[in-house]
Amino acid sequence: MALVKLLKLRKRKAFMKINNTEIVDTYAEAFSMWSAKVIITAENDYWAEGAARAMTGMATSVIGCKCEAGIDMKLSPEETPDGRPGYSILLFTMDKDSLGKRLVERIGQCVMTCPTTACFSGYDSDETVNVGGALRYFGDGHQIGKKINNERYWRIPVFDGEFIIQENFGVKESVGGGNFYILGDNVSTCLEACYDAVKVMKRVKNVIMPFPKGVVRSGSKVGSKYKALIASTNHIYCPTIKGVVKDSAVPENVHTCYEIVVDGADEKAVSEAMRVGMNAAAKEGVIQITAGNFGGKLGKYKFFLKDLI
């Protein structure tokens, strides 16, 4: 009986194929998060990118980083509020209050400190958090508030002139934890598939893939045998223990698994990113594409793979 159950788990139902890659009839379970879009501009791309990368550093997962963040898009001078080159950043947290705190910390430490930068809200939303209004106190009384088109900005004196920051940043309820798994016969084939997937997913607006180069090798499940941990390795997708783990989901001919996690401003953006990503990843050597879910216990969003391709 146990053997039958094990075989069933190992051979999950593949309902269709893209190229020769099986797409498992399952869904990615995502959850509600709060997000802010931050526009960082600077004198040139070099400094704008520097601030953007610093601000999104160590922000892969809320589990250990308190937030998830990444670069959404590179912006041309025509697309930014002050006509300088810039980047749009998406930052996600589990609730609105902590989103404000993370923005103040990260903009204060990573953007204000970077030469020539300025920082603006990228969302036009009724819900806002006070960011510039908190950071202005760094000006030690020398800061200047200015209203342009009913928006208040703060000018904080710094060594190369002034750091400009918008007082309030728009925030909205968003989607975190969209995902799909790429299962292949070896590391290099799987990485190539991940690279191709992330490359096209980056072209989708309003999404980020917060892990290193967009890819996770240490996908996690909720909880652990150790009570102090809220998450632990998702052992059913670890090929090295598939022989000893009874509920392993790694097929016989699979020796490598990777996960791509997507956070997005809304369901539409996450769906689109997953769709283009899966299509790009399905190639020779990729045996199966599946997704992570926890039976609907973790989040309210379900992205069925069959609906996306």
């Binding site: 002050d82 006509g83 200047i144 200015k146 190369d160 002139g161």
Partner: protein
């Protein structure tokens, strides 16, 4: 609704009742009986204006109205379009809405303004957005765009107001100002920013800076890039790229006050 001046008043006419909030809820016949003051005599609007209902929310007023005062006074919302010159106290104490003047205006425009927008395509007189004599503060919000020239004491004692001037300003521009921004694209007169506490005066041309201001540095204010972008998108002012991306001399002052105001003077 459309109001057209048919009889020029001999003495100033005080037309506080000509605002969208009052006019738009009445029928033409009722508007004709609205009271206005001709000197110290109460008269009907119809004695000076012909009224026609053009079925529009926009209140159009036309004619040579340089002796008509308080047009759009206490306005909170709506839009007035004025064709022709208009007299003093236009938009007095207005807190919202939009007044467009295709012509020149007299003195004391927008005293005690706290919100809304006034756009004047011609020239303006003295004391625009100015505190009344004896009052420590003038306007407390809103935006005024003057495409032509303006005379003395522009923005006297103002706070949180934005004033954009396409031409020249007279003497004492921004005198005693508390906060807000004045942009002068032409020449500014003498004693610019005298007694200013906070606020910003941006000058495209060089000015004679008072000795109570101290020189800070030359730099490229990012704030001005935002500000000029807004000006370009919302006015017909010609803002050249070299002005947007140029360097500005920053002076702090006025030392006889809080010393927290700034003059930003374009340095090319």
């Amino acid at each position: 609704m459309k109001l057209e001046l048919h009889t020029k008043p001999e003495v100033p006419l005080e037309a506080e009742s000509i605002t969208p909030a009052v006019i738009n809820k009445l029928k033409a016949k009722e508007i004709e009986k609205l009271k206005i003051y001709h000197g110290n005599r109460e008269v009907n609007i119809a004695d000076f204006f012909s009224i026609s209902d053009n079925k529009s929310e926009l209140l159009e007023v036309s004619g040579d109205m340089h002796k008509i005062k308080y047009l759009g006074a206490n306005m909170k919302s709506g839009e007035i379009q004025i064709e022709g010159d208009v007299g003093a106290h236009l938009g007095s104490a207005m807190s919202g809405g939009f007044i467009k003047v295709n012509g020149n205006t007299g003195d004391w425009i927008a005293p005690e303004m706290s919100g809304g927008r006034i756009h004047i395509t011609g020239n303006s007189g003295h004391c625009v957005a100015c505190a009344y004599r004896g009052a420590s503060k003038g306007t407390s919000g809103g935006e005024i765009i003057i495409e032509g020239n303006v005379k003395n004491e522009l923005g006297h004692g103002m706070s949180n107001t934005t004033i954009l001037v396409g031409g020249n300003t007279g003497d004492f521009t921004g005198v005693n100002m508390h906060s807000g921004t004045i942009l002068v694209l032409g020449e500014a007169g003498i004693r610019t920013g005298a007694g200013m506490k906070r606020g910003t005066i941006v000058c495209k041309n060089n000015i004679e800076v008072l000795p109570t201001f101290s020189y800070d540095c030359i730099y490229n204010p990012v704030y001005l890039k935002l500000f000029f972008k807004y000006v370009k998108e919302n006015t017909k002012f010609k803002i050249e790229e070299k002005f947007i991306n140029g360097s500005f001399h920053r002076w702090s002052g006025d030392a006889i006050e809080m010393n927290r105001g700034e003059l930003l003077i374009y340095s090319a």
